[in-house]
Each structure stands twice: as C-alpha cells, then as structure tokens.
C-alpha cells in the first residue's frame, strides 16, 4: 500500500508549564522523552525512521526562552527559543555579532528559519551545523536547566560525537551566552552546498580575527570547520600558526593547508572525502584572506 501522506510516528506531545516540570518529566522518562524547539530536525528524523520517542516535550514557551538581552559588560544572552529569522533581524545582534547573523542567514530557507533555532542547531549536534562555528569562535557558553537546576556549559567541550552532546536526561538548553565581542573583530562564514542556498553544508568554514598586540603577529585569527569531522571543530593549529609571525598571503595559504590536514571528512551522498578536504583548503584560504584584508584595512 502506498502511503500518500507520510506522517509522523506515534508520540505524545507534552507541554510542561515550567522548566522544573519539564526537567523532571524528561529525567523521569529518560530514553523515551526528548525536548524540542522548532522541530525542524527531530520531525524529519522521526519521519525517516530514526529515533523513537514516546514523548516529545515542547520547551519553547518556558521562562526566558524567547528573549534577546545585550549588556555591554556581560555580552549577549540569547534565549534558546528565539528563531533564526529573529536572530537575523535583531539590530542588537547585527551590530555586535554580525557573524551570527551571517551564519544563521545561510541556514535552509526563510520558512525553515521561522521555526529553527540556534539552540536546536547546537543540541542536534550535527557537524554540519551552520551556526555552530560562529558560536564556537564567539566563545559561546550554554545555560542549561537540569534536574539540579541551572548550570553553565562551555560550548568548546560540548560535542562528544555526531549527534552527541554533554546534555543528560532532564537537561534543557535555555540560553546561549556570548561574551562582549573583542574590539575590531572581523569575521566571515563560507558555506559550500550543492546549490547556492538551502542545502546542508558540504563544507562550512568560519573565520574570525581581531587585533591582539600580545601576539607576535599582532592579530588573533581563528578558524572553525563544519561537516569535515565527527564534531564541529576549531582548528587550534591555524590560530597558533597565524599568531607566531607576521601574517602574509603565503602564511595564510600555509594555514589553509594546515586546516586541510586537520580535518577528517567522510564520503557521503553530498560529497566525497577527497573533495571535502580540497574544499577545506580552498575555502579556508578564501575566508582567512577575507578576514585578513579587512583587518589590514581597519
């Protein structure tokens, strides 16, 4: 029998009234309950037969999830339920964290971004997540509510493998916190897809740099890669390489080769491993050069 209207498998939709109730429900039903925001990853996976949950817990409307707060001393507190279109349209985020706007703007399509969230992008923990490199280079930390209340997790140690994070049963990501951006920060996100827009990243390259007199090169320049390792990765060797001596176009080319060596892509439906590796080098070169030129011109 042809199923003309493929639907979602059975589950119960749960709407907790508070974070405490949500965490306690999730912990009590561990293994069979999952929190969700926009649902743009989980519903697709469920429809494809991956994942099997008795309960889907809607955590969008809980305390503080929908707010965007910026304080010049503290930085940004981005509520976990803020959808990507709101992030892109936020004047605060455009002014202080344009990299986040650029990265979010490359996700899927307008109608998907009406529902998708950066928090969901992070918790889904796909190495292809477009916004994760930006969050890593902006030194994000995560406010998590769990069975024992609130805690903070640094993003740079959050990912354990594809789709796997440090979150435990009962945990809900409630906000993403970004410190005030460094003076003179310049950034760029380059996404390679099978088409100009709307695809998942075959390779995603995020580069960011700022003047730093404490380094021999006078700059701190960092690089993060998407889709070329089990987790979204920051290539630490690129940072140390470009810190050590005066930045030149040749050193940027060398840094791009370091990035190529550092990644470990797989072959999948979208691209071969070899192609990904070569694109890491080319796009890292482009992104680093773009950042470098802006830094020099400033």
């Amino acid at each position: 029998m042809i199923n003309v209207h493929p639907g979602l498998p059975s589950f119960d939709y749960i709407q907790p009234g508070s974070l405490a109730e949500a965490s306690s429900f999730l912990a009590e039903h561990q293994g069979e309950a999952r929190p969700f925001m926009g649902g743009t990853d989980i519903f697709v996976r469920l429809r494809d037969g991956f994942g099997d949950y008795k309960y889907l817990v809607d955590v969008k409307k809980l305390d503080g999830m929908g707010t965007i707060n910026f304080d010049p001393a503290e930085g940004l507190t981005l509520g976990a339920a803020v959808d990507m279109n709101r992030v892109i349209g936020s004047e605060i985020i455009q002014e202080h964290y344009p990299l986040l706007v650029e990265a979010a703007g490359r996700v899927a399509s307008y109608q998907l971004r009406s529902r998708a969230t950066i928090a969901g992008n992070i918790c889904n923990a796909s190495p292809a997540g477009d916004t994760i490199g930006a969050c890593l280079l902006l030194d994000a930390s995560l406010q998590v509510h769990g069975s024992r209340g609130f805690r903070t997790e640094p993003l740079n140690s959050f990912f354990l493998g594809p789709g796997q994070t440090k979150l435990e049963p009962g945990d809900i990501l409630t906000a993403i916190k970004l410190p005030p951006p460094p003076e003179g920060l310049v950034s760029r996100y380059i996404k390679l897809g099978r088409n100009q827009a709307s695809d998942l990243a075959i390779v995603g390259v995020t580069a960011a740099g700022y003047p730093d007199r404490g380094r021999p090169s006078g700059y701190r320049i960092r690089l993060a890669l998407a889709s070329v390792a089990p987790v979204p990765m920051v290539v630490e060797e690129v940072e140390s390489f470009l810190s050590g001596e005066e930045v030149t176009e040749q050193r940027i080319a060398a840094a791009a080769r370091i990035a190529q060596e550092a990644c470990s892509p797989i072959s999948d439906v979208r691209a071969s491993a070899r192609y990904r590796e070569m694109m890491v080098r080319n796009l890292s070169q482009q992104a680093l050069l773009s950042v470098w030129k802006s830094l020099k011109a400033a």
Binding site: P6, G7, L8, D12, Y13, V44, R47, Q111, S114
Partner: protein, 154 residues
C-alpha cells in the same frame, strides 16, 4: 497517544478541533478542514509546497504539529483571495505565466505575499532569497519572479 483540543484562526475563521499529538498542521489542513490548496511535496521542510503563514510568518506546515497551533493565526493560499477576487500577488504571478502544473504555486504565493508585507519594494536578490525554500520543477522561476516584481510595483 494523547489528543489535544485546539482553538485557532484559519483564514480569519475561528476553528475548534481535536487533534492527535502526531498530526502535522499540513495534515490537519488537508484532512480535517479539506483545505487542499496547501500541498505535501517532501514532508521534510525542503520543498516549500506546504508553506502557510503562522502568526504572520511563513512556515513549513509539514514540520509543525497541529497541537502546537492552539491560539495561532493561520493563513493558507485559500485565504489570500478576498470576496472571490485574487490578491495582487496571485493576479500578477498568474498574468506573468508563473504557473504551469500549479503544485508549487500555493507555497510560492504565501512566501511572496509574506515577502511583500515585510519588504514592499524588494530587489531581485531579495525575491530570490525569499523563495529559496519554494522549489518549482516546471517554470524555471523567471516568470514567477517577474510576477512578484510586477505585484511589488503596484
């Protein structure tokens, strides 16, 4: 599996419905309300054939649960026309030859309508960005974009 009673506005009319937890907004519109203008193309949020407005914003209704829509304001393609008259975007896309099989058209019209509401004079690039999530296999998009430009110029 739990049922949920929801009250929501659909094309200006208040509706009260009982829906299963796993019923999508798309399925609810088509099966419970016979609003079959909205289509299922991919059920994965990639093709945009299921695009409707939810609280003023385009969403892929195949990825929204009906149960999440309690209190929501939904507009489908059926809600664009007024008193039997096509709205300016519908008229313009039709006149420009932007409809062939018509399967993508409802979703395209919703995305285009929402674009012109938030950006009444969009550039060609802005129009293309707004339509990234609406795939068309027939027209090659050119006449659709022409139609939207025409509607914007009114």
């Amino acid at each position: 599996m739990a049922n949920h009673t929801i009250t929501l506005k659909i094309n200006g009319e208040l509706e009260r419905l009982e829906v299963a937890s796993n019923l999508t907004l798309l399925s609810m519109l088509r099966q419970k309300l016979t609003l079959t203008g909205t289509k299922n193309g991919c059920h994965a949020g990639e093709c945009g054939a299921c695009t409707v407005l939810m609280n003023g914003e385009p969403v892929n209704s195949c990825l929204v649960l009906a149960a999440e829509c309690d209190g929501a304001d939904i507009v489908t393609v059926e809600g664009l026309a007024r008193d039997g008259r096509l709205n300016p975007v519908q008229e313009a896309v039709k006149d420009a030859g932007g409809v062939q099989c018509g399967f993508c058209t409802p979703g395209i019209l919703i995305s285009a309508h929402a674009l012109l509401e938030r950006s009444p004079n969009p550039s060609e690039d802005e129009i293309k960005d707004a339509l990234v999530g609406n795939l068309c296999r027939c027209t090659g998009y050119v006449r659709i974009i022409d139609g939207i430009k025409q509607a914007a110029s009114l």
